[in-house]
Symmetry: C2
Subunit: 325 residues, 2 copies
C-alpha cells in the first residue's frame, strides 16, 4: 500500500513537471517566462495571499505590435489603402486628390506628408457610408485574401505564436482575455475569434459613430464618417472602464500608446502584471523602439523598470515568432 | 437485457419530464412559458435546422421594468434624489434652485415640471465630479441601504423572480446574458453580478464621459458632467453593436424604449425571439402601458402581434413577482 502511494505520488510529480514544461513552449526558459508563470500561479493559488477569484481575472492585450506585427504600417492602414484602390473606379476625383492620389500611385512619401489628417481621411472614406454588415463582409474578404506587402503571406499568419500560447495559458487559468487596441473595433471583430480565441464582445477598440435606420427591408446600422472614440493612450483606460467595468489584473502592450493602460492596470490593489513586447529581432521580425513612427516605445520603456513591468525581448525570449505554416 | 434497457429508457424519460417541470418554476404552465422553452430547445438542438452554436447565443435584457420594477420613478432617479438630499449641506444654493429645491421639498409636481432637462441636471449633479471608484462606492452603499419609498424594501428585493429564472435557464443552455438598459452603466455594474448573475462586462447602458488623470497618488478616471451615450430607443441596437458586436438571438424589454432593440434582434436571420413584459398586475406590482410616463408601452405593443413577439402578461403568466424574502 505504501509502495502504491509512493508510485502515485511520483506519477503526480512527474505529471506536474510535464505540465509546467508544456506551458508556453515557444518561450525560451528564462526570466520572462518564469515571471509570467509565477504571477499566474500566485493569483490562482486558492488560499494564497495573492489569490484572485476567477471572475476578476481580466487580461487585456494591445493588438498591433503586441499580438501581431505592425510594419511597415498598421495593417488596418494597408487595408484602407487596398480599399482605396478597389473603390477608385467609382471615385475619379481621387486621381488628383491627396491623400488618395498618393495611395493610387504607391507614393509613400506623399502619403506620409498628408499626416494624421490624411490618414483619418483615408479611413473615413473606406470605413464609413455602408451598413455594419457590409463592412464586416468587406473585412472578412480582405483578411481572407490579402497578403502582406513584403512578406507575401496572409496577415493572419503574422500573429505571434508565443502570444497565442500566453492567451491560451491565461484562459486555461480562468482569465477572461480582451483586446484593447487603438485599431478599429469593427476591423478586428470579424477575425479575432478564430485567430486569437477572443470573441467579438471582448474586443475594445476605436470606433466611428453608427446610426440605426429602419429601411424597407428591415433595420440596419449605418457607419457614419465621424469618430466616436479613439482608444489609444489616455483613451485605453477609459475604453477598458467602459467595456470591462473594472481594472484588469494583467496588461500587455508594446508602445507608448499602451502607457496609460499599463499604469492603470498595475496601479490596482493586489498583484498586477504589466508587460511590454519589445521588437528587437530585425532578422525574424523587425527591430524598432524610441525613434519609430509606428509603435514608438520610449516613455513606457523608461517607466517599465520603475514600475516593475516585464520587458519581453523578442529575440532573446521567443523560440519562434510566427506559427509554423 | 431487454428489460434493463427498457427500465433505463423509462428512467431517462422520467428524468427528462422532471427537468422540464423544474424549468422556470415561477412561470405558470401556459403559452408564454411554452414559447420560451420551445425556442430554447430549437436553437440548442444539435443537428436541428435552427441550431445555433453556443458562441452565438446572445440574450439581451432591458433592466427597468423588465428585470426589476420601475415605479413610481426609475430607481436611478430615486438614487439621484437621495444623493441630492445627502449632498445638500454642501450646496446651500440648491434650497432656492430648481430642480434641486423640488427634490429637497419632496415636491413631485415641481420636479415633473422641470422636465427632461431638470432630470438630466439632477443626474449630472449627482453622478459626476468624482472618480469612478468613488461613484462605485456610493452606489454600493445606496443599494445596500436604501429602501423603496412605498414598498419599504431594498430595491434589490424588487427584481422579478420569473426573470431571474429565465436568465438562469438561458445560461444553463449556453446563452451569454447581457443587460441593455437606458439606465446608467455605472449605476448598474456594482450590483448586477450578485443579483442577476451578469458580470460588469456584460452590462450595456447610458454613460457620461470619463477622463484619465494621473494624480500624485496614481491614475484615476474622473466622471465628467457630459453625456457620452444615451442607450435608449434607437441607441439600443447601437449599444448592442458596440458592446456585443453582433445581433442577439433573444431580446426582452417592456417599453417603447426597447422597440428598436426588439426590431433589430428579431430581424436577424434564423430563429430569433422577442419578448415584452407587460405590467398588468396592479395588485402584486403595477399596471400601466400606453399612457404611462414611466415605461410607456404603446408602439412596441402594436408591433408585437405583427412581428410575433411574445407578450408576457405578469398577472396571468407569473406565479410570483418578487423572490420570497
Amino acid at each position: 500500500m505504501l509502495k502504491l502511494q509512493t508510485l502515485t505520488g511520483l506519477a503526480l510529480v512527474l505529471c506536474a513537471a510535464s505540465v509546467a514544461a508544456d506551458v508556453m513552449p515557444s518561450w525560451r526558459d528564462g526570466a520572462s517566462r518564469e515571471a509570467i508563470v509565477n504571477f499566474v500561479e500566485r493569483v490562482t493559488k486558492s488560499g494564497g495571499d495573492d489569490f484572485v477569484p476567477a471572475d476578476d481575472r481580466i487580461a487585456v492585450f494591445d493588438n498591433d505590435g503586441t499580438l501581431w506585427s505592425e510594419q511597415p504600417l498598421y495593417f488596418q492602414l494597408l487595408f484602407a489603402m487596398d480599399r482605396v484602390k478597389a473603390l477608385a473606379p467609382n471615385h475619379p476625383e481621387w486621381a488628383s486628390k491627396q491623400p488618395f492620389k498618393a495611395v493610387l500611385e504607391n507614393d509613400m512619401k506623399a502619403l506620409a506628408a498628408s499626416g494624421e489628417h490624411g490618414l483619418i481621411e483615408l479611413v473615413m472614406a473606406t470605413h464609413s457610408g455602408m451598413t455594419t454588415a457590409e463592412f464586416e463582409q468587406t473585412v472578412r474578404e480582405w483578411i481572407g485574401n490579402a497578403q502582406h506587402p513584403t512578406l507575401k503571406r496572409p496577415y493572419t499568419d503574422l500573429v505571434f505564436q508565443p502570444m497565442l500560447e500566453l492567451l491560451d495559458y491565461l484562459r486555461d487559468n480562468g482569465f477572461k482575455t480582451f483586446i484593447v487596441s487603438g485599431g478599429g473595433i469593427e476591423f478586428m471583430r470579424p477575425w479575432v475569434h478564430e485567430i486569437y480565441g477572443i470573441p467579438p464582445e471582448q474586443v475594445v477598440g476605436s470606433s466611428i459613430k453608427v446610426k440605426f435606420e429602419m429601411r424597407d427591408d428591415g433595420p440596419v446600422l449605418v457607419r457614419s464618417p465621424e469618430i466616436d472614440f479613439f482608444n489609444d493612450k489616455k483613451g485605453k483606460p477609459v475604453g477598458i472602464h467602459q467595456f470591462v467595468g473594472r481594472p484588469p489584473l494583467f496588461a500587455a502592450g508594446n508602445s507608448d500608446g499602451d502607457l496609460q493602460m499599463l499604469q492603470w492596470t498595475t496601479a490596482g490593489t493586489g498583484s498586477r502584471f504589466g508587460m511590454i513586447v519589445r521588437h528587437t529581432d530585425a532578422e525574424r521580425e523587425w527591430a524598432y523602439d524610441r525613434e519609430s513612427h509606428i509603435g514608438k516605445l520610449d516613455k513606457a520603456l523608461d517607466e517599465a523598470a520603475d514600475r516593475g513591468w516585464l520587458v519581453v525581448d523578442m529575440k532573446r525570449d521567443w523560440k519562434v515568432i510566427y506559427p509554423s505554416p
